[in-house]
Amino acid sequence: MAELFWLIPLIPGASALLLVLFGAKLSRRWVAWQACSAVFLSFLLSSAAFAHLVRLPPGAPGLTKTLFAWISSGPFTSPIAFAFDHLTAVMTLVVTGVGLLIHVYSTAYMAEDRSHARYFAHLNLFTFFMLVLVMASDLVLMFVGWEGVGLCSYLLIGFWFERPAAAKAGMKAFVVNRVGDAAFILGILFLLANVGGSSFSLINKAAGGGLLPSGLMTLVAILLFIGATGKSAQIPLYVWLPDAMEGPTPVSALIHAATMVTAGVYMVCRLSGLYAASGPASTVVAWIGAATALFAAAMALVQNDIKKVLAYSTISQIGYMFLGCGVGAYAAGMFHLVTHAFFKSLLFLAAGSVIHALAGEQDMRRMGGLRKHLPVTFPVFLVGALAISGVPFLSGFFSKDAILTGAFAGGQYALWGAGLLGAVLTAFYMFRLVYMTFYGKERTAMEPGHSIHESPRAMTIPLVILAAFSALAGYVGLPVFFGEKADLFGRYLASSVKSGSPHLAVPTEGLLVLLATASALLGIALAFVFYRRTPALPSRLASRFPGVYRLLVGKYYIDEVYDAVVVRPLVRGAEKVYERFDLKVIDGALNGSAAAAGLAGKGLNFLQSGLVRDYALAFLIGAITFLGFLLL
């Protein structure tokens, strides 16, 4: 079974193709079943391959399969080749596992939608491209998946394309991603030209063996990271992700929380040899990650749209992952990626359940008191919120702690401090969300006769499964004071990614854990004070610091700044150039010369009288002159 691992991406791909071609003719039931079972098959295959992998002796290479030589021209070669090693296995299981749950959830969430088949076709297509990205054995093929998931993201954000906002958000996502991708391509070109290939093993080997000049490595690592800031929504290219919430909620859960947006983190881990060998690039990664973590968390504090809060939270959490990678704790970054995939998709799906229950309402100011009405959604949401806040013994606690410990162990105290502050903010905005949505007075504006109801079974079962994982997934990577061997996850990944920084002494680590716990609880307590005990406090605070509040609500006006500094000058400038230069100068020169020729023609116009005899006379004179010349 394991040697068929290369079918993992192809099964959803084939299903997507069938749905694109014949989806409109198939019944809804069939479409849903086909889409889900394709992902389920992939999940089974991934599990089989994973089982095969863990049974291999340590140090043994993973599975590889070259399908065919794709592009090859002179020194440029790029095969279609898949690889399945420990790192891949993690991502594959997350993508197919969480993907399957979200597919199932979608069967109910999207049951009524007009374009049901198109939705599942795109969702399958996304799974295909994501798996290609994850399983590619070289950068060029990874780029195929990279662009492919970007395309699916575009299609699914703009799924309800009749809404101008959705269409605009989809396009923004794609174009902003393309900015990063341009840098990514340049990075690939540098590697191809200097390493002679783009397979990950080759690159890591070249980087680790000191075969590449360090300046070049830093340049390449930063170029690739710029690509990652686009895909993973980091500063400065994060602006598309909040808008991406225009898409259906399961899409936000799958693409914009669990899988696609973490592709950048995966890429950095995949190339951990390169990043570990380049100090400056790692520093950039760590600081961008930390800055994004704080910056986005601050914006999440004041959002009123339930999905937007989660979107900014996603940006912030991915910042944590990059922070981990930047300080050399790649395994910790991956660990957080996995736990985040569980609890963030849980939060999104649960938020979807809330939105579903309220018939499309997304504004938290019109929610409140929902815990009585949603007996399943509320507890699972609470589990997710606790997990992301880093409350002890839930998954987020362990993974966030691993990152912070890594930063501290690497001597990056400032980064560690930033992470800790971010943890307070995270707990605060998450519980602000919980209190505003599930507690307090009911502020819903439902029409009479439309009661708030819990979602159907197909939606709640995935929620419960995800909640279980969100609670328990942390136990695969316990901190060091549970024993040297407690960090199963880190040891498992050791063959695929660079190992992290040196271990800390047990007492130090204990102190760090306590501090992290305290900051999580502090955040929750603050949220309780602000939004449960004295609900007037937030508005008082807002009027006390109007500047700060407006800056946060305005999302630091980054969108406006980009618009004013990049987009508008470019479009206006191009318009001006088109009118002034293309039409006036170039065409003017042409039309001018044509006009000059015309004028010259006018001057000689009298010769063309239209009288045949005049022409004949000219002819005669010419003939006589010619004869004269001949004779004389």
């Binding site: 694109v20 409109a24 065919f68 030589a69 794709w70 592009i71 090859s72 021209s73 002179g74 020194p75 440029f76 070669t77 198109r118 060029v140 195929v144 662009e147 492919g148 395309l151 575009y154 703009g158 394309f161 009749e162 809404r163 101008p164 269409a167 989809g170 396009m171 794609f174 174009v175 393309r178 900015v179 991708d181 341009a182 391509i185 340049l186 070109l189 540098f190 191809l192 030209a193 200097n194 390493v195 002679g196 290939g197 397979s199 093993s201 080759l202 080997k205 070249a206 075969l211 000049p213 470019l570 400038g573 191009a574 150039v577 088109y578 293309d582 170039i586 065409d587 042409l590 044509a594």
Partner: protein, 532 residues
């Protein structure tokens, strides 16, 4: 198979079958529109089928022209000499593939003077194929010029409101360039006579002349201007948007897909091999113009209000990338440029077909008159999107292969220019998706209920292209392998004839110690592994 068809003058048949069909059309009654269309379509389809024989029969190991036919014609070197090699083969196929689709697409769009229209389309096809198969400079020039005539009428008769202005501009621009080329041909002819005492205009003979650098410079300028107008290279591009906007959809398809390629082809076949030293010394200047074209075309496309002129400016941008690759003068770049020429032909051809389909329904090409069309035309929306993405170079579709090869080839010659070239990735996504958003997405704007989904005939036009878009994106090897030998032969001939360094920016790269691992090629030396 090969032995069977070598006795048949396949190249000539493929070239002149459309012309024969056009002559046949004269005897079909013009009133029976169906018969006229059927004959024209059948002839062009037959041509395409025969051109496939060329493709499958083409061996491509030697890099020399195959299916060569050589016969004296006007004497004194003005011979009839045709054949295909790895550089021209696919352009012939492209022309033969798109002409039937263009004819089919104008089934309803052209109902005035159908007979004349079909006649000119077929004549145009002969001209296009003929230019690509010519191995004699005289024949090349005759067909190059002859092609203008059908295009002139296609735009001038079946064009839009400002068609006369557009045709005049088109003809003046191109004539201006090609007249200088004619003078250049005279000079070459006499230079050959002076050097050898014989007469020849065979391209292979002329390439071995060893002209003086000064003469090369003048001749390169004369030929280069003709080709640069056709490409079109910035700032000679302004005829293109006008010609496209005014041309009927079928004309636009062939204009963008095939005629523009002739400029780049001219450089590859004549401009560079005949005058290698001059080409090498002009390469920097032309590369910079090409880069300006990439960015400029992209920005202009961003602000167009008319769908057709948007696509036209996107062609300026794409052709800029192709020219940049051509002037990088290395193996990967040249193959990339050739592949990109085909890809651009397909995707831009299809874009014009798509715009034509929309125009047929609403009779407006202004972007602002559309909105939310995807709701009424789901199948069309999907196809249009595939075509757009192919043009934007999405991996897995055809555009990516050529684009990445161009990038890599340009990069090995000059990193800075490559960085500018890569900007096309952003710009093309921006202007194409913005177009899609404004036309297909958003609230429906169709007050008169004109939008309906594509019918079978329109599907028959688009589906073959879409299939090829996928095939070329997934299995480019089938094409690249047939190019390899010809391209390396072309580069070898440059290297032996031009004492100057062809890579005009000396590569100061520290080579990485040999192969790092066995599973990939060694460090990519410039033009490394040319001999494969």
């Amino acid at each position: 198979m090969n032995a069977m068809i070598t006795n048949v003058p396949l190249t000539s048949i493929v070239t002149f079958l459309p012309l024969a069909g056009a002559l046949l059309l004269i005897f079909v009654r013009g009133e029976s529109v169906r018969a006229v269309r059927a004959v024209a379509l059948a002839v062009s389809l037959l041509t395409f089928a025969l051109s496939l024989l060329l493709f499958f029969g083409f061996d491509g190991k030697s890099g020399l022209p195959e299916f060569v036919e050589h016969a004296p014609w006007l004497g004194r070197g003005l011979d009839y000499h045709v054949g295909v090699d790895g550089i021209s083969l696919f352009l012939v196929l492209l022309a033969a593939f798109l002409t039937p689709l263009a004819l089919l697409s104008s089934w309803r769009a052209v109902d005035d003077r159908v007979k004349e229209f079909s006649f000119f389309m077929l004549v145009l096809e002969t001209g296009m194929i003929g230019v690509f198969v010519s191995l004699n400079l005289f024949l090349f020039y005759v067909l190059w010029e002859a092609m203008l005539i059908p295009m002139y009428f296609l735009i001038g008769i079946w064009g839009g409101r400002r068609r006369i202005y557009a045709t005049m501009k088109f003809v003046l621009f191109t004539m201006f360039g090609s007249l200088l080329m004619l003078v250049g041909i005279f000079v070459l002819y006499s230079a050959y006579h002076r050097a050898t005492g014989g007469f020849s205009l065979a391209i292979s003979d002329l390439a071995g002349l060893g002209l003086s650098p000064a003469l090369q410079t003048w001749l390169f300028l004369a030929f280069g201007l003709a080709f640069a107008v056709k490409v079109p290279l910035f700032p000679l591009h302004t005829w293109l948007p006008d010609a496209h906007v005014e041309a009927p959809a079928a004309g636009s398809v062939l204009l963008a897909a095939v005629l523009l390629k002739m400029g780049a082809y001219g450089f590859l076949r004549l401009g560079i091999p005949l005058f290698p030293q001059a080409a090498a010394s002009f390469a920097p200047a032309l590369s910079i113009l090409a880069v300006i074209g990439i960015v400029y075309g992209g920005l202009m496309a961003l602000v167009q209000k008319d769908m057709k002129s948007l696509v036209a400016y996107s062609s300026v941008s794409h052709m800029g990338l192709i020219m940049l690759a051509v002037f990088s003068l290395n193996f990967v770049a040249t193959e990339g440029a050739l592949d990109q020429m085909l890809s651009h032909g397909l995707s831009t051809g299809a874009l014009f077909l798509c715009v034509g389909i929309l125009y047929e329904r609403t009779h407006t090409r202004l972007i602002k008159d559309y909105g939310g069309a995807a709701a009424r035309m789901p199948v069309f929306a999907a196809i249009f999107l595939v075509v757009l993405l192919s043009s934007a170079g999405l991996p897995g579709l055809n555009g990516f292969v050529g684009e990445i090869l161009c990038f890599f080839g340009i990069f090995t010659s000059n990193k800075v220019l490559a960085a500018f070239g890569v900007s096309t990735v952003i710009l093309s996504a921006a202007y194409l998706l913005w177009l899609y958003r404004r036309v297909m997405h958003g609230p429906l704007r169709d007050p008169d209920g004109l939008l309906r989904d594509v019918d079978r005939r329109e599907l028959a036009c688009l589906v073959p292209i879409v299939v090829l878009i996928f095939l070329m994106g997934l299995f480019p090897g089938a094409i690249l392998r047939k190019m390899d030998a010809s391209v390396s032969r072309y580069l070898d001939s440059l290297r032996t004839k031009a004492p100057v360094s062809l890579t005009w920016k000396p590569a100061a790269r520290k080579a990485i110690p040999a192969r790092i691992s066995g599973d990939a090629a060694g460090p990519a030396q410039l033009d490394g592994r040319l001999e494969r």
